[in-house]
Symmetry: C2
Subunit: 202 residues, 2 copies
């Protein structure tokens, strides 16, 4: 059973608007850019979203859902905490070359653009980052619980460290249009994560 | 001997425009915002800068010079590589609470805003980051040269790792309006940097 036509149009608008906002920024991408990207008249867009603000919020949520599903998929198929954490590193390496939504990480892009304005988008970006940090903390805690990872790790410190450096690395990769620096950061983290494993007692 | 009046006005415009662009973004801050911030008429600004583009470029250079001077000052007064690298960490902690230019790091803000547009600003941000990476690499290399730091370090990998995570941490601090996560990243790096010291042979 497919979606109804109106629902299909709404999803098409969300997908294209999300890519445009994530690439150009919420301020810079205008309604006429979204009309060009969707091939719709202004009325056809307002038919589904009451205002540009409403479209921005729903596009952000759409982008976060798509990216969140992708990262969960990559993590869930891994058997243990070390490989789940490495999958998060790989997700960011992939974000630079083959992102689920054009323009990179919607959480960081929104957090930076909306720091001093657009409070509702900023709150959603904050909530998204908080969830992502909890997701990483839980993987570390689970690994500590099963004895796979060392007992002296501090997940509440390591999770923001991991997110900060991977988001920052993504920014460097985009700026240089090169994966060299992002790959250096990925190597650093894979070594670190490996060092978090509990040594087998002899 | 003070600056001539015209020169003083130009510097005043640069200081206020730099803060505005660094807080609001280059696209969002308009000429009328700059008129309000400086208390000048449009003609009084165009008298010193031929266009908004010209003002944006000179404001960016001004912001980078001010921030670059501050970080060099903090680093130069340290006696060895470990404390110089820790001073760079401290500079980022300070950027969140008492930045030399309002709005945080002009390199990261510009890099992110101008990734897919405004190529001249993007090139200058790239050059700024490249210089900053070289500056950090040189501190690590100097420490390896004197035997203070371990010989197996890879400065070309560590410098982008340090910059990526400190810039990312700054973003998290701004988003949460809290230093907790930034401080966690600073602690992580100070421990890391300490571990780069060559162990005294016994």
């Amino acid at each position: 059973m497919g979606m109804k036509k109106g629902q299909q149009t709404k999803q098409m608008i969300l997908g294209r608007a999300a890519a445009l906002f994530n690439t150009e920024g919420y301020t810079k991408a205008s309604m006429s850019d979204i009309m060009s990207a969707t091939g719709l008249e202004k009325g056809g867009i307002y038919n589904h979203f009451g205002s540009k603000d409403q479209l921005m919020l729903e596009s952000f949520d759409h982008a976060v859902t798509v990216c969140g599903n992708r990262i969960k998929e990559m993590v869930d198929e891994q058997p243990d905490s070390e490989s789940k954490l490495c999958a998060i590193v790989d997700y960011f390496t992939m974000l630079a070359v083959n992102p689920p939504i054009a323009g990179g990480c919607p959480l960081m892009n929104t957090a930076i653009e909306c720091d001093d304005s657009m409070p509702e988008l900023r709150n959603r970006a904050k909530l998204g980052i908080t969830r992502f940090l909890r997701f990483i903390e839980k993987i570390i805690l689970d690994g500590m619980g099963t004895g796979e990872l060392r007992g002296d790790l501090n997940p509440a410190d390591l999770a923001p460290m991991l997110v900060a450096s991977l988001e920052g690395a993504l920014m460097l990769g985009k700026l240089y249009d090169s994966q060299a620096k992002t790959n250096a950061v990925a190597r650093f983290w894979k070594d670190q994560i490996h060092s978090w494993k509990r040594r087998a007692s002899k």
